[in-house]
Symmetry: C2
């Protein structure tokens, strides 16, 4: 095992997988003995990108040892970290989310930028350090930015993300619109997933005023196949909520073509959901037009609603 | 009042004062309506630097209004922030300390580097943005780095601090060793301070495992005048500790010429102090040779000792 573990969040998306790969590669170029790991199963979209650019998947680990040196990418909240992080030594943190409950005993390098994708930040760190990414590294960073910004459709998209995509597409030698649509399609093809897996898809824990809740997300190009399984998915969502004693569990069913979200929630969360989004709920669901981003359009609103 | 307040910690040192000035200036150069403020009284060293480079002192404020946009420099722990910060909106954070209890609802720009002085980071942000600092701005950043690194004597000093000092001294048109020694002397001349003021000098609150304690620091070129007032200073330290119900209060009496520290503490803290530094205490004091840095050599050790 390398001296330093570079790792993204549990239930990793393409950004977390690619960030572990691209940032550990940059650190190695700069002389650090660092390697990429993952804290959960690969999704179809990440597999597509890894295959396309011929990159090996990061090794899976379910915990880190006490004292292990770790670099966190794409997350910082303890609830989203690989198990054991409390007794490990975090030596760097690069992220683009809100910051919550992250503490160190001594000063370390920390960089957060409010951009659509952490790989946009990492690509700029390559440039800052005059390290030219290989085709494979450029391809992984490109895939992550396309994924997180849903090909620039997400309101989290910034000019810096757009700029990075254009430069990275050139380095990776692909047409980013064609490649991006192909990759998003591969990721959205989840019709064969069982209800339990759909209910837990891309799920993150949040804490607000001592209450812990989860928000998952399914990105699709057609909501009908998911709607057809709603009863089973909701049962699985509630089962998982009860098992972990969460105050509620939410699931964003996001259509990346129509750019809207059906936010499903477990029983008992109606009042909070209605207050958070100022909408009427029906059938354990609020409809959120023009909402695609958990980070910007869903979790802050829920955190606020629970804190009030 | 400008739209955005740029502010350092309570009991500001030269780094916090200079960072508010230099970073607000950079943000203005980049188009933001930002201005420098301070959360406490100026010390003699900061006054010397401001006078020398003809820079106006930042305006004092004792609180920020709810909803006010704020950029924090040189600190992040809520106990060290200007009052009212909990209901203000922090939009950026640039620091070089440990991170503790800092949270946001949404992603913002955050940059921490483990360097000796936050102005080293800010100077690099000038360079990154191709903004050339004026003589006055270069002088303030230079003063801060000399202050925080005690002219490179502190173990917190990094190559980046040394590099920045050399470049900034050129921009400011001064010999940094001569200017630095003059500035440090001005700051160390605290013989006329009353005991209450010495006891509260450059004091920061810390929290560990629910226990709140303070660590202040007095930098001198001769410990005798301070030792002569020890009884009065200790009485004032204990009075302040009791008034705020701190678990303990510590005061570093640091000789910047001999590069060592006498760490004074209030009654009842002997066990923690001995454990933290693996030293025997006598007369409410542990002697710490080669220790000058609160951030690196004192507060992490105390935080750890309280958490055990």
């Amino acid at each position: 095992m390398s001296k330093v573990i570079v790792i993204g969040h549990k239930s990793p998306d393409t950004d977390s997988i690619a960030a572990a790969i691209s940032y550990s590669n940059l650190k190695r170029e700069l002389g650090m003995d660092a390697a990429a790991y993952r804290a959960g199963e690969l999704n179809k979209e990440s597999k597509f990108a890894l295959d396309y650019f011929g990159v090996e998947a990061p090794e899976f680990i379910d915990h880190v040892e006490a004292g292990q040196q770790v670099i966190l990418v794409d997350h910082n909240e303890s609830k989203q970290c690989v198990d054991g992080i409390k007794d490990a030594e975090v030596i760097e943190l690069v992220d683009h989310h809100r910051i919550g409950d992250f503490e160190t005993a001594s000063p370390i390098f920390i960089l957060f930028c409010p951009v659509g994708c952490v790989n946009t930040i990492i690509y700029n760190l390559y440039k800052l350090n005059n390290v030219k990414p290989s085709r494979a590294m450029a391809g992984m960073m490109l895939s992550a930015i396309i994924s997180d910004t849903v090909l620039f459709r997400s309101p989290t998209t910034t000019d810096k993300d757009r700029e990075a995509v254009k430069e990275l597409a050139e380095l990776a030698g692909v047409n980013y619109e064609e490649y991006g649509m192909e990759m998003l399609k591969a990721g959205a093809d989840i019709s064969d997933y069982p209800a339990e897996k759909l209910a837990g898809n891309d799920t993150k824990e949040f804490e607000s005023a001592g209450k812990v809740f989860t928000v998952g997300q399914i990105s699709v190009m057609d909501v009908e196949p998911i709607n057809a399984k709603k009863a089973d998915i909701m049962a699985a969502l509630e089962k998982n909520r009860a098992a972990h004693n969460y105050v509620a569990s939410y699931l964003m069913v996001t259509n990346i073509l129509t750019e809207d979200t059906y936010l499903w929630f477990t029983d008992g969360a109606k009042d909070v959901a209605e207050k958070a989004f100022n909408k009427n709920a029906e059938d354990n669901c609020v409809y959120l037009p023009k909402v695609m981003s958990r980070k910007k359009q869903v979790s802050p609103q829920l955190i606020k609603a629970y804190a009030e």
